[in-house]
Each structure stands twice: as structure tokens, then as C-alpha cells.
Symmetry: C2
């Protein structure tokens, strides 16, 4: 089966092409136009048709190293590998890291299939009440011990900071707890920080496990979310500055050479520019983060107002509500699980969301992920207006989408 998020995206595109008016929050795309200076770099990079180094050219690796260094993680270019998106890097890590894989429950829908393709078992662990992206530490410890008692060897934990799907950021204390556990239980951490530059409100503290247990952490990132170029496929990974890190980097580079050769040359030119973060890029990142924060918060308010529980979003562009308090009322609409909840929303109100069970969550729970970054408008013009607006919520097309969501959910929860 195709990744459920990509499959839903294609289904909605077909329905929309057929004339259906759908409020599409079922796909994690930062739906904004290409930022002009990025396109300029792509054009400048058009002459780069040679393969070049597998890990990426020196200039691009140096730019990514600078990006991490500015975020409290001193980094040399030799610690960096670029790739066509962070997905193939996460897959390569599955091939080279030891043991089985622990995932937060719920989590991004590609982690588990990737682990299975690499012939690994997946151990899901529930997230804490206040945030996603990390397993609950006590539950994690319990699971590790239980798995070991059964002769299994979970050795890698994937974290998502900020989190997809909950739109929250694990607190520094939570991250440190997981890091302590990683030391005690000899675990390796893969920290997916692709939403890192989309923290809202500004100033929200984010501690990477690479700051706490540097020798045990690989960090992945990319431009897909922060700069809205998912369709350009630009990702990078940062490896520890140690003998272990160097071996991992060499192993991932080896897998890369057999799986994808290298990031396309013109995209390396884009990466070299964007990760060096000149003033206009910093400004664009801030504008995107602000827009995502405002709209995610508005959708969060709707979820709370209809009676759902929801963690307040603090990063990225998702909300992950739980309609458990409304179970009895929803039963009157034939809704009793994750699948029927999202189906009813789509059929009755034309609202597309990704049901929680596709993210590894309990299929009996009444949860879904809504990508609020899809509400900025259909055209590049509308999307740019949303990015430029002082108050994007007052734009008629954004307001209309929020009203549709409010009405659709109110109808369902009555």
C-alpha cells in the first residue's frame, strides 16, 4: 500500500479535479509558493549535471554544518550527508543501525514501513499526555526490559522534534529523560528535526538529543517543511563527531551510493544557499513559522470549542485532536473508530484528515491528524497573501476554510 498520507493526497486531488469542494488537511505539505531566491539558486545550479560526491559537495555540506552549528550543535562538513529528502536517509539509517526500532505512538507514517523493509521489528510506545514525538519515558523503560526478557533487542529510538503528528515539542526535560535512558539502556537515537525551524511561538525552547548525548544521536533535517519545497526533495543528516559517528556516516554513505548515488546537483546548489541562511532566508523561515503557528492555533481552538481534547500546537503545522469525550454523540453518526471518524468528516463535510491508525495509533481511538498548512489557499497568489498578511485569519479564503471546519465538526459533534 502507498503511504496513506500520499494515497489520501492523490485521492483528494482526483476528487477536487472532479469538482468536489474539499477542505484538505490530510497531507503534510507546507502549501506555499516557491520562495523566489530558492528558484534563482535552482536555475544557477542547472549546469551541475555531474554526479559529484555521494554525500554532497563540500559547499553544501559546509552550509548544513553551519546550520547545525548555529543551533548549538558544533558541526564539521565531514559529519554531513545530503540526500533527495530525509526519507532515504532515515531508510539508510535503518539499514546500518543495530537492533530493532522503538517508535513513539502515534508517529509519522513512514518510520514503521521503513524499519520493516530493513527487516527490523517495530516496538511502539505511547507518547506522554502533554506532547508527542517522544515515547513516555517510563513506558519506554518498561518496554525495553520486557522486550529483552523475551530475547528481543530494540536498540534505536526515533524521536520527532517538533512532532508530526501532534504539532508539539517535547520539553527539554522530557528530551533529557529520554537521553538518560538511552545512556542507561545503550540505545541509539534518531532525531528527526525536519520541523525544527517551524517553532511557534518564537523563542520556544527546543533541546536536541544531539546536545545531550552527542555520541548516540543522528539528526535528520531538510527543506521540505521549513521552506515549503517538499517537491524538490532536499534532506540532510548530521552524524556524531566520534569514531562511532564516523563509522555510521561511512555506512550510510555506502548505502547511499547503492540506493540513490547523490542529491541532484541543482538541488545541492539550493541546499548550499538555503542552509547558509542569508537574511532573506531567515526572514522567510520566520514568516512561515508565524503563519503556520497562527493557523494551527486557530484549528486547535475549533477542536477545543467542539469538545475534543487536543494538545496545544507549538511547532510544525499539525493538530492531533482526540474526540474521546464525544464518543457517545459520535456514535449517533455511526462513528466509533479512527477510520469511521475521518470517513464521516470527508463524506458529510468534505473535510480530509488522516486517521490516527495510519500513524500507528489505536484504531479504536477517535483521533486524527489535521495538516493546517493546507489551508492557505489553492493558488500561489492566495498562499502568498496568507504569508504576507498581518492577520491571515482575516483573509476571506482562510476564514472560509476555518468556517467550513468549524461547521463540519460542529455538525458531527452535535
Amino acid at each position: 500500500m502507498v503511504s496513506p498520507n500520499l494515497a489520501l493526497n492523490e485521492y483528494v486531488a482526483q476528487r477536487q479535479a472532479a469538482g468536489d469542494d474539499i477542505v484538505h488537511m490530510g497531507f503534510g505539505e507546507a502549501r506555499l509558493p516557491v520562495f523566489g531566491p530558492l528558484a534563482d539558486q535552482l536555475i544557477k545550479g542547472a549546469t551541475r549535471n555531474a554526479y559529484g560526491p555521494v554525500a554532497g559537495c563540500e559547499e553544501a555540506r559546509a552550509a548544513v554544518a553551519g546550520y547545525f552549528t548555529r543551533r548549538g550543535l558544533p558541526t564539521q562538513p565531514g559529519q554531513i550527508v545530503l540526500a533527495p529528502g530525509s526519507k532515504p536517509l532515515l531508510m539508510a539509517l535503518n539499514h546500518v543501525l543495530p537492533g530493532d526500532v522503538v517508535l513513539p505512538r502515534p508517529c509519522w507514517n513512514s518510520y514503521a514501513p521503513q524499519a520493516k523493509l530493513a527487516n527490523k521489528d517495530v516496538f511502539p510506545v505511547a507518547i506522554p499526555a502533554e506532547c508527542g514525538g517522544v515515547p513516555d519515558p517510563a513506558a519506554l523503560r518498561g518496554m525495553i526490559h520486557a522486550a529483552r526478557a523475551l530475547g528481543r533487542a530494540p536498540r534505536t529510538v526515533v524521536l520527532t522534534l517538533p512532532d508530526n503528528p501532534t504539532g508539539t515539542i517535547a520539553s527539554p526535560e522530557r528530551v533529557r529523560e529520554i537521553c538518560r535512558l538511552a545512556e542507561e539502556e545503550d540505545l541509539f537515537l534518531v532525531s528527526d528535526e525536519i520541523y525544527r525551524d517551524l517553532v511557534h511561538p518564537p523563542g520556544t525552547e527546543l533541546v536536541s538529543p544531539a546536545e545531550v548525548v552527542p555520541d548516540r544521536t543522528v539528526v535528520t533535517t531538510g527543506l521540505s517543511k521549513s521552506l515549503a519545497v517538499g517537491g524538490w526533495r532536499i534532506g540532510a543528516a548530521r552524524f556524531p563527531d566520534s569514531a562511532v559517528g564516523e563509522r555510521l556516516r561511512a555506512d550510510v554513505t555506502s548505502v547511499a551510493s547503492d540506493l540513490w548515488s547523490t542529491l541532484a546537483g541543482p538541488m545541492q546548489a539550493v541546499a548550499a544557499y538555503a542552509f547558509s541562511e542569508p537574511p532573506e532566508i531567515r526572514q522567510q523561515l520566520a514568516a512561515c513559522a508565524r503563519l503556520h503557528g497562527v493557523v494551527a492555533h486557530a484549528v486547535y481552538e475549533i477542536m477545543i470549542s467542539v469538545g475534543a481534547q487536543c494538545r496545544r500546537p507549538t511547532g510544525g503545522f499539525y493538530v492531533y485532536p482526540d474526540f474521546e469525550p464525544l464518543r457517545d454523540r459520535l456514535a449517533g453518526h455511526g462513528v466509533s473508530c479512527s477510520a469511521s471518524l475521518s470517513r464521516e468528516l470527508l463524506l458529510q463535510s468534505g473535510i480530509a484528515v488522516l486517521p490516527g491508525h495510519h500513524l500507528g495509533d489505536d484504531d479504536q481511538a477517535l483521533r486524527f491528524k489535521a495538516a493546517t498548512s493546507m489551508l492557505y489557499g489553492e493558488s500561489a497568489h492566495e498562499q502568498q497573501m496568507a504569508l504576507d498578511a498581518n492577520d491571515p485569519l482575516r483573509l476571506p479564503h482562510v476564514d472560509a476554510a476555518l468556517t467550513r471546519i468549524d461547521e463540519g465538526l460542529t455538525k458531527l459533534c452535535r
Copy 2:
């Protein structure tokens, strides 16, 4: 370990940067400038920052379908999946095809590591005397039966038409023999036809197994070799028009959605244009094929003149000589195997080639792969001159490279 060809390429680039004058034939890159109209399409595609369908947009898939249809393989867009190079497609096929993998010996150096990453065993079978890219049919049958007797299940055979590394094209009769065997032994064929448009002399017949056993054959292709945009990473696969083919296509698309999402949007714009083959593209393909043919043949003549055996190259841009007739003479230079042969060539004469054991060949054999497409010059200007020349062999920089090869080999084989 990084793919030996990519590793050697990086090593040579470092030596050249340090001032060494190396004739580099150790890397399979069509070293030519970007064809202008391709760059124009990349630039036009710069606004395509959305993810889009996993398999590629309708327009790009239709173009690839047309490309195959014009080559005697009627194809619908629904049979096509695009990707960032054919490498990830070949990897995805490893994940979804049943059983273990049979490879011609020697063959391209990424087939075996990919199979192993997918947890499959590799069964190498010697190529016939007259061509590479296919296993010798009798040896293939013997191996299949022997493997079965031992409880193993080789089910997929990878073919390379035209071949990398031998630069030859299996005759239609050879291909049909393999296809008959595939029917009789219930084997699946992966036909890597990435060099298909680089047949020389023009008119040389190439039969794809997809013409003979359509339900058992997936064909892969790409623009890296034919149009010299390896660094842009554009590949495609064609699946059978049958229930089995449709299931394979769906399975590969599923793996794709978790491994690489989709080919970058701007590259899809390039693919839609190039695979539709307007007149200027056909002309460029013909010019490239001619240049590759002339230079490969010149290097072949040198190999023969110094006393090596060598299959006459008829496609792609490689020669794969065998220095067995010179074993005694080479022993005087301390050369007794594939590794020492290529090392001596590099150290004594500054000629870089890829030793045969990196391609799965016997490490005691005196064979290497020479990529003759690397001899067109260092600068884009020199390369363009080679492409435009009536007789590229008369260009001083091409002539100088050929003289270096001639002298280096003559010295070694004296």
C-alpha cells in the same frame, strides 16, 4: 564501503585537485555538458515545489510511455513509475520481487549490494564469450537446478542491455534464449536498459525481453547516460501490462512512497520533455551515441593492439579487456590479479580504471572496465567540441588522452 566506482571517482578528483594528471576511465559518467534545452526545462519546472503523485505526474509518465511505445513496447502511462534515478527503482524491485537474484558475472557494481540490502542471496553466472549483460544460458540453467537442489530459490535475473561493463549488446537470439529459460524455470527478468539509446553502430538490433516475455519483465531506464545528466537523477521503470505487472507497480509505488516520496518536481518537467523526444533531443541522442561509439572503439583498438582480448564495444561507453594472454609479461611488473593490474596502471601511468573484481568478476583474472566517456575533455568547452567534431579522435585533447592510454598500456605489456 562506498560503491567502488563512486569511491574511485572521488579519489581521482582529489588527486587531480592536488595536481596529478590522471586519465580517468574509472567512472561511468557521460562527461558532457548539459544540453541547453534540458536546462531550459529545469528552469521552467522551478515552480514545481509540491509533492505530486508518487509515481510521477501524468505528463511525465505519458512521455515515458511514449518513449517505450516507440521502441516496440506499447505502454500506457499507468505502467510507468519515475524516480530519482533508476537506482532506487532497482532497489525497490529487490524489495518486492520474490526469491533470490541471479546476476551476470561481471555486472554493474550496485546490483549485488542492493540485493543484499533486501536480504536476498546473489547467484552470479558467467557471461557468454561474445557479449555481456546476460548470463550464459546453459550456465544459468545449471545454476538454477543446482540451487534448487540445495533448497534455494533464485527467481529474478537482472539483464543489462546494452551492457555495463562490457559495452556489448546481447544478440536477439541470446535474449530469446534467456526468455525461453525464464518461461521454463518461472523466472522474472529485470532488464536494465539505461544505455539503450547509446547503441553503436546505428541500426544494431536490440531486442528487449519485454518484447518476448512481456509478463515477466520490468524494464528500467533513465536520462543519466543517454543525455549525460547523471547528476540530475532521473529514472523510470516500465511494468508489465497485466495483473502481475499492476501488482508489482503498486508494490514498487508503495516502497517508493516510504523511501523517496517522488522524483523532484523540476526533474519531472525535464523528464516530460526529454522522454517525449522532440527532434532536437533525437539529434542530441544520435550525436552522443556516435561520439561514444567512436571513442570506445578507439580504446578497444588500443587494447587489441597491445595484445589484450576484448569484446568489440557496440553500445554504451565501456570496454572490458582481458589481459590473460599477457599474464607472463605482466608478472614482471608485479601484476597478477585484477587489483594489481589497475593499481599499476594508476601508479605507473596515471590511468584510472575499475578492476573487474569490483564488478563481481574473478579477482585473479586480469580484467578491468574502462569508461571511455571520460575522455572528452575536462572543460565543458572541450567536451562540446568532442560532441560537435566530425572526427573527435583528431581533437588534440582527445588524441592526447588516447596516446597516454596507448603508451601506458604498451609500457605495462612490454
